[in-house]
């Protein structure tokens, strides 16, 4: 477990260095996001690192597992973006219905009123 603590400490240090060199304007937010991401995969990472150390998995398998976590974040972000676009479209359609209903009710309503006045 001591080894894992050192491993996570080193990863956190590298996250800070990476944030300082790449996203200096949003450094604190980036570090926070990265630490949350690390916390989310911590249990899996401990297990996979143990399997790698015991030679039960290969380095390329370990890499795929880590990369797949990154992919999950990306695919979930795309899913959210797609849902947002669809909901915006749904809102637009509701607005369209509202315009159609109101326009027809107003015009037809007025026409009926005019008809009533003319026909007495």
């Amino acid at each position: 477990m001591q080894d894992f603590q050192e491993l996570f400490k080193e990863i956190e240090q590298q996250i800070v260095s990476l944030a300082e060199s790449t996203v200096s304007n949003y450094k604190e937010e980036a570090i926070q996001d990265a630490k949350e991401m690390l916390a989310n995969i911590k249990a899996d990472l401990i297990r996979w690192t143990g399997l790698l150390a015991d030679k039960q998995i290969k380095i390329n398998e370990f890499e795929w597992l880590i990369n797949s976590d990154k992919e999950l974040v990306k695919m979930k972000a795309l899913e959210k973006a797609g849902l947002a676009a669809s909901r915006t479209s749904a809102f637009g359609f509701t607005v369209m219905n509202l315009i159609i209903d109101t326009a027809i009710r107003t015009v037809v309503g007025n026409a009926e009123e005019v008809k009533e006045v003319v026909t007495g």
Partner: protein, 137 residues
Amino acid sequence: MIKNFICSLCFLMAVTFWGCSPGLHYSAEAYQRDSTIEMKVMQTLKNTSDSYSAHAAEIDAIKADIDNAITMEKARKGNQVTVKMWEAVQQDKGNLYDLFELWKTNDKLSPSIAADINKKIERLLGSITELEAHKMR
């Protein structure tokens, strides 16, 4: 006269609105196709501890299905997000095609991570079917 004009205008607006972005609307056909692909993939991934060559034909068939899915999705306007998701499945490190390459390179994948692989691919492909399922109806 005014009534007819307003009705025609409204009809035209509605048709234009619906017609301009079918990719934002739910498609039962797309959902069924994506679910079938996911099911085939999960079935194939039960065998990652077998030699890749024993399942190469199944994998090629899955890739052909995905090519077809992308072609169909590209034809739906306003559907860039779904297309990007399928392209990630094909191109990105840590996604499905990368897993197939890994399987091919290693010939067999470690049984120790079979459950992890299944869970991750199910979630990756599941995000595509989830998006389709929740599009506007």
